[in-house]
């Protein structure tokens, strides 16, 4: 019997169209992801890590399949009114339960296994160079560890809901609920799939890992620090937290099933309906029946029919308790996510809960698409599903009206979700007690997130109208929606081909939504026009679906009439055509998408690399007149370069180029002739009438104009906006000669473009080419301009505000400027004028920023040499790729990080202070001393600025406060290394930010701990003396030599290793005894573990030099440490073995013993660096 049932069940499942489509989709999905960007660099495309990763992702997508199949197959008796027949057979409870459950489970698992097969197929077609060995267990193990328990969990929950409620919609809600559960899990577990999670620094904790039902947190948490080799060879072992997680959720699933089995009603479900009020059995005077006249033409009729149908449909959505529960869950998820996002930026930054940032965060509402998919399926097939279609379709009501009513009902659903989002955001703001609530921003969510969702609803409705089977329609909708959502990764780059996609500009109080807002409206209009077409098409298809074949309806519609449908179609078509043309035209010949840029870069290299050695003069003086028109998104520059031949050969040609963002440019070179011009790359080559002899000078004049199209992707370094423009002008002025930075660097990309592996040009020029500068910038009257140089004067003339900046001494060729309505804070500090220009109102952090500026200025002037300028200015800008940037005498700092970080919580690290100090330090480490081009150049800028940042923090707040920053950098180093799929290069020749920022700073701090602050700073002073302007530029090697000079052999070896090796530490400490001695003294016996990774050997050995490691005792546990904490005992030890035993005596009872207490030695697991002594010991 059971066997027969099982066979029947599986055959039933396998015959479902939904299953077939799902199988095909998952096979394709596996192939697609496997061929995607996974496994770049040295990570194999079929590495066990990659396969596990994809399997994890696919098992998540399994939620959808389980939901649909559960609703369709498990509830089939309810759907098709078979219950009465079924329950009156001899079928027993247990077989029914088991067969239905097993059927569901096996089929969903089968679909996921097809996904794995897809991965395999996908890797088959990959380049063999990017593949590792094939092992079947790489595919099977993740399937067993992730897919099986995940599917079991999903199926149990959905199955239970299905059996207990016997409602299809309740099953959908459970499906969406599962997805929300996943989101919660990944937010709490800090999954790298969530936005900006990678920069959060957290240890692997047990709770988040346990709480994630799908074990994704564990997967990412446990593999986060794996090196490329480990990722290529290891499977995640099923042990520890992962095992516990799997067992917990399996047990939960089992318990739920058991409960369901006990509780579910194995009989006819009683139709639940609203309690009917007993109507008084009144017997009124019987009314006679009359026919009444009807009015079935005209707008009034259509409108009334629409409204009535819309009301019914919306009621059916909202008068449903599971839906309301889901809304509550939705609000909860949003609140949690908000809290995590707004309160935990990089370095644990916490932002003010300003409406603008909340709205920006709330804007994408992708999970809402799931609900739209489910409800569209339900609503569109409702007449047939309830068998009411003949009643409805026998009325006069046009299908278009019904169709629009259903779409409107979906719109109401979307509006309700947006409203919930808005209310959650406002509630969150109120709870945090910050800032006025900006209603207009909140309301804009209806447009920014509601409208695209509605467009999606129309698309999904259209897709559903193609199917008789709503489940097949849902699955196809999910697939299509997925393709568009992730289209950017699938090669659909342009907004014109990605449905309902628009740029998503970030919010800033200075510039609002900024540069791309206008483009956003155009794209929305474009997609709305297309959605209009889909709406009509959907109504038409739905109609044919309701009334037999295409052919016959076609016959009905023989008379072509110029109805409103034709007009609307024509209107939609012409609108989207017009916009498409406008977008292309407005962008000029700038590449709109990244792919076009790549081929542009490649062609540039192919065309011009051969001329790299053409001798060119150098720029010695720059005279500029810039006029900025923010409202018109435009600026013009009239400029003059003084050029000098600094080579030893005569210069016969001047090879000029300009950036693609420059709309037009005209050069004037006296006594020269244009020999070549190339508009695609903006190259012009002039033949000089008379060669420029070595040492001679000439003048080049130019006029250029930049008009920025809103359709060109936002570039925060070249932003012209109404308020808060920021232009790194030097990048958009004419340049001379070949530009190596245009070359593509990424090896696979180069290969795709048919380029050989990149060979960097040998850096030979070590001379400083500093210039003098004279710059007059004008802007609109109410704005101020901040730029490089000393402000000579500002004046207003002809309705424009002019600023005259002049360099006080030769500076690097760097002329960024910003223009905004600024408020000014001014201080004078030891003869240096400090200016802080900020958005009026956002003045919370001004005192702190000023403090950081003076502190860092003091430290630098005292330790490294005099500050070269009369003023130091910090100006707010809306956006920047990082937190801030340094120009000679000017710092540009982003509004959100510097001015809107909430620093009230003193238990958090004050990163605004650190960022500001870092940028001030760049005044020396970039502007006084510049590195020569070449590998590792950033060590002389970023690592040293990081060192300055550490020192400023240490001086102001204390070493044990700095510990938080060091540990954050430590974690960040490992996290970013884990995301980079290439072998790490040693510090002195790295080009990876995580090495020269995080590790570089820690190395410098370690050297300071070893040699002392004065020795290190003396070396840095020497570096400036030897390589500062106007001597020759420095190299990382020069720094290394200066640091090593005068040290003993052990120290020298240690410094050498930190600079030229990639080893990381695995330090741990443990107290084995603590004896109280007479006189209140304590003797502690501790065991030190000193491990070292990445040296090729697992433990330190005779041929690796010993390491200098601090060991310290404290009276208070490390969680209570603050800036004023002092150790009871602290000593640096040279450790050469992997095990050491130390005996230490102190005169107070220690609470904790620590190895490397500040955490400046790169160590994956810092938690075992501390050992808490319990009181009883």
């Amino acid at each position: 019997m059971v066997k027969h049932l099982m066979l029947f069940e599986s055959r039933y499942h396998l015959r479902q169209l939904t299953f077939m489509i799902a199988g095909a989709l998952f096979l394709g999905l596996g192939m697609l992801i496997a061929q995607g960007n996974f496994g770049s660099g040295e990570l194999h495309k079929n590495a066990p890590y990659v396969i596990s990763y994809i399997t994890c992702m696919i098992s998540l997508a399994g939620i959808f399949v389980s939901t649909l199949l559960c609703a369709q197959v498990v509830l089939r008796d309810t759907t098709y009114d078979m219950n009465a027949l079924l329950f009156s057979t001899t079928l027993r409870r247990l077989p029914y339960f088991i067969v239905r459950l097993t059927g569901l489970f096996v089929v969903v698992l089968l679909v996921l296994a097809l996904g794995s097969a897809g991965i395999w197929l996908g890797t088959m077609s990959a380049d063999t160079a990017s593949l590792g060995p094939f092992r079947l267990r790489y595919f099977i193990q993740p399937l067993l560890v992730f897919s099986v328990p995940n599917v079991l969990l999903c199926c149990s929950i959905l199955f239970s809901v299905a059996l207990l409620t016997r409602q299809v919609r309740a099953v959908y809600m459970a499906g969406v609920g599962l997805f929300i559960l996943y989101f919660l899990g990944s937010i709490l577990g800090n999954s790298p799939l969530m936005a900006n999670s990678s920069l959060k620094t957290q240890e692997n904790q047990l709770w988040p890992q346990l709480l994630d039902p799908f074990a994704i947190t564990s997967f990412f948490g446990l593999t986060r620090h794996w090196t490329v080799d480990e990722r290529n060879q290891q499977l995640l072992p099923l042990a520890g937290a992962l095992l516990l997680n799997r067992l917990t959720w399996l047990a939960l699933a089992g318990g739920l099933l058991w409960l369901t089995y006990r509780r579910f009603a194995f009989r006819l479900p009683v139709a639940t309906s609203r309690r009917t009020r007993p109507t008084t059995p009144d017997s009124p005077i019987p009314l006679p029946y009359h026919r009444v006249s009807v009015q079935t033409t005209g707008r009034g009729y259509s409108w009334r029919a629409f409204a009535s149908q819309w009301r019914l449909e919306t009621n059916s959505i909202f008068r449903h308790i599971p839906f309301l529960v889901l809304l509550a869950l939705w609000a909860f998820l949003t609140a949690v996510d908000l809290k995590e996002t707004i309160l935990h930026g990089p370095y644990n930054i916490r932002f003010y809960t300003a409406s603008g940032y909340i709205v920006e965060y709330l804007r994408p509402m992708r999970p809402a698409l799931l609900l739209v998919v489910f409800y569209a399926g339900e609503l569109i097939h409702r007449e047939r599903a309830t068998r009411m279609h003949e009643l409805i379709f026998a009325t006069r009501v046009p299908d278009t009206v019904l169709w629009c009513a259903k779409t409107a009902a979906l719109a109401s659903l979307i509006a309700s979700l947006v409203t919930v989002n808005i209310l959650t955001g406002i509630g969150f703001q109120l709870a945090q007690g910050f800032h006025p609530i900006e209603w207009n921003l909140y309301c804009s969510l209806f447009l920014y997130s509601g409208w695209p969702l509605l467009l999606y609803a129309i698309l999904i409705g259209f897709l559903q109208s193609l199917f008789n089977n709503k489940y097949a329609g849902m699955l196809l909708s999910l697939a299509v929606v997925g393709v568009f959502l992730f289209g950017n990764r699938l090669g659909l780059h342009s907004y014109l081909v990605r449905y309902a996609a628009t740029p998503l500009p970030d919010y800033a109080y200075m510039s609002g939504w900024g540069h791309e807002e206008k483009a956003l409206y155009y794209y929305l209009l474009y997609w709305t026009a297309i959605a209009g077409l889909l709406l009509l098409a959907g109504a038409a298809c739905w109609k044919t679906r309701n009334k037999g074949s295409f052919r016959s309806t076609f016959r009905q519609q023989q008379r072509p009439r110029f109805t409103w449908k034709f007009i609307m179609t024509a209107l939609c078509l012409s609108t989207c055509l017009a916009i498409a043309i406008f977008v292309r035209y407005s962008a000029g010949h700038q590449p709109l998408v990244r792919e076009a840029l790549y081929s542009w870069q490649a062609s540039y290299e192919k065309t011009y690399r051969s001329r790299v050695s053409l001798p060119q003069p150098s720029i010695t003086h720059v005279q500029l007149a810039t006029d900025l028109y923010p409202g018109q998104r435009r600026y013009t520059v009239r400029g003059q370069y003084r050029l000098r031949n600094e080579s030893s050969q005569p210069v016969t040609t001047v090879w000029l180029g300009n950036d693609a963002a420059v709309t037009s440019i005209r050069y004037t070179i006296p006594n020269a002739r244009l020999a070549e011009q190339d508009d695609r790359f903006g190259q012009s080559i002039y033949q000089l009438g008379q060669p420029l002899q070595p040492g001679d000078s000439m003048t080049l004049s130019f006029t250029q104009e930049v008009i920025q199209s809103p359709f060109v992707p936002f570039n925060s370094e070249h932003a012209i906006v109404d308020n808060g423009s920021y232009v790194e002008l030097e990048k958009y002025l004419p340049y001379l000669g070949y530009q190596e930075q245009y070359e593509l660097e990424d090896a696979p990309l180069r290969k795709k473009q048919g380029l050989p592996p990149q060979t960097k040009l040998p850096a030979t020029d070590s001379a400083y080419h500093f210039v003098t500068m004279d710059h007059v910038i004008s802007t609109v009257p109410d704005q101020q301009v901040v730029s490089v140089g000393a402000l000579q004067r500002d004046w207003t003339q002809n309705g424009r505000h002019y600023f005259h900046y002049q360099s006080e001494r030769p500076i690097a060729f760097k002329f960024a400027f910003s223009s905004a309505r600024y408020a000014l804070h001014r201080e004078n500090h030891d003869g240096v004028q400090l200016n802080i220009l900020y958005q009026p109102g956002l003045d919370y952090n001004i005192p702190l920023i000023a403090q950081a500026m003076t502190d860092a200025l003091d430290y630098g002037s005292k330790q490294w040499g005099a500050y070269p300028f009369q003023q130091l200015t910090l100006a707010a800008i809306p956006h920047y790729p990082g937190a801030a940037t340094a120009y000679p005498g000017v710092l540009f700092s982003t509004e959100r990080i510097s001015f809107m970080s909430n620093l009230h919580d003193s238990t958090r690290f004050n990163s605004v202070y650190a960022v500001t100090a870092h940028e001030v330090a760049h005044q020396w480490w970039a502007n006084v001393l510049s590195p020569m081009d070449g590998p590792g150049r950033a060590v002389l800028t970023e690592s040293l600025a990081k060192f300055g940042e550490y020192m400023a923090v240490e001086k102001r707040f204390g070493a044990h406060y700095l510990r938080r920053l060091l540990q954050a950098d430590n974690n960040l180093y490992f996290a970013l290394r884990g995301m980079d799929h290439e072998q790490e290069q040693p510090l002195y020749q790295t080009d990876k930010p995580y090495v020269y920022y995080q590790k570089g700073g820690m190395v410098m701090y370690g050297i300071k701990e070893m040699l002392g602050e004065d020795t290190v700073n003396a070396a840095l002073r020497a570096l400036i003396a030897q390589h500062g302007y106007p001597a020759s530029k420095g190299r990382p090697d020069d720094l290394l030599q200066l640091l090593v000079a005068g040290t003993n052999q052990q120290q020298a070896a240690q410094i050498q290793e930190w600079f030229t090796g990639t080893a990381t530490y695995d330090n741990a400490v443990r107290a084995v005894r603590c004896d109280s001695l007479t006189g209140g003294r304590f003797r502690l016996t501790i065991e030190v573990q000193h491990g070292k990774k990445g040296t090729g050997k697992s433990a330190p050995s005779a041929d690796t030099p010993p390491d200098l490691v601090p060991i310290a005792l404290y009276a208070a546990p490390h969680i209570t440490w603050d800036g004023s904490t002092q150790p009871l005992y602290r000593q640096h030890y040279w450790l050469s073995r992997s095990q050491h035993t130390l005996v230490i005596e102190v005169d107070r009872r220690p609470a904790v013993v620590a190895i490397d207490p500040l955490g400046y030695l790169p160590d994956e697991d810092l938690s075992n660096n501390y050992y808490l002594l319990s009181d009883t010991e």
Binding site: V294, S308, R387, E390, R396, K547, G548, R555, Q556
Partner: protein
């Protein structure tokens, strides 16, 4: 009087190959028109086609001179249709649903709508349960709801497919009453398996079998034609086959526990047969045997 509904050579073949209608031609004027026919005869197919819910392969239908396939909307605003089988949106009360359908049917005046809905609820005896969800109605109650919605608005053509199925005798009478009252000014097409109902109610009728009209006319006239030709005899069960072979048997039936065989014949076919007065079911059965049986000679008209 003019025929308001003219059906000419209507044929319909479903995509699974079943020829549901072939060359159906009928002329129908105001009043009740009964459709009889065995299961699968094509009654519902014909009615769905007339309701423009499906298209025909060939043929023409005109209502008040307008081609219903060319302009289905013109028909639909004067159509009342009760399908043989239907469901409703869940969790909506009878009153709410009737209001909704009334709006879709185009009753724009709110007061008129309310009055008609109330009247229909009373006429179908659903007034006391008007706030109960239709999806929780009993079979008969739901059927009455179906009747009520078919009468909404200003129907000129009412098509009801087995409207009395599941109704208790009292409700059935009430419905017949209502139908006769309405039928004076509009066309009502009614399909049923209860031959007496057609006899009692319908001035005109047709019998459909295998998708063809095999007989049409006025019930009284048709019955009249069989006067003196129907003979019956009580026989034993094992004799049935013999009689069927030998004589034009139109039906067998059991009355008072006795098996009676009915035979169509101009004279007494055999000893023991007694003449019995013809009724409409005799017409029905004789038409069916005539159409399906082999004995063509027994045509009676």
């Amino acid at each position: 009087m003019m025929h308001r509904l003219q059906i000419r050579d209507l044929s319909k073949r479903y995509s699974n190959g079943v020829q549901a209608l072939s060359q159906v031609s009928l002329d129908i004027s105001n009043g009740l028109f009964g459709l009889l026919g065995p299961n699968g005869a094509g009654k519902s197919s014909l009615m769905r086609t007339l309701a423009t819910l499906q298209t025909a392969d060939s043929g023409q239908v005109q209502f008040d001179g307008i081609d219903i396939f060319k302009d289905p909307y013109q028909l639909r605003c004067q159509l009342g249709y009760l399908p043989q089988d239907f469901g409703v949106y869940p969790r909506l009360s009878a009153q709410e649903l009737l209001h909704h359908l009334a709006v879709l049917k185009g009753i724009d005046n709110k007061a008129a709508r309310q009055e008609q809905v109330a009247a229909l609820l009373q006429q179908t005896n659903l007034y006391n349960v008007r706030r109960q969800a239709v999806s929780t109605f009993s079979g008969g109650m739901r059927q009455r709801f179906g009747i009520a919605q078919a009468l909404l608005g200003n129907p000129q053509l009412i098509i009801v497919d087995e409207p009395t199925a599941g109704l208790d005798p009292l409700e059935r009478n009430r419905f017949h009453d209502l139908l006769c009252q309405i039928g004076e000014q509009v066309v009502v097409i009614l399909s049923t398996h209860i031959v007496e109902d057609v006899h009692d109610l319908c001035p005109n009728m047709a019998i459909l079998a295998g998708g063809r009209v095999i007989l049409q006319g006025k019930p009284a006239v048709l019955t009249e034609k069989l006067a003196g030709k129907v003979w019956q005899k009580a026989i034993a069960r094992q004799e049935v086959a013999r009689y069927q072979d030998k004589l034009p048997v139109i039906s067998t039936r059991i009355t008072g526990g006795q098996l009676q065989v009915l035979v169509l014949s101009d004279s007494q076919p055999e000893t023991g047969f007694t003449q019995c007065p013809p009724d409409l079911s005799a017409v029905y059965f004789s038409a069916l045997t005539g159409a399906t049986g082999t004995k063509k000679e027994v045509t009676v008209w």
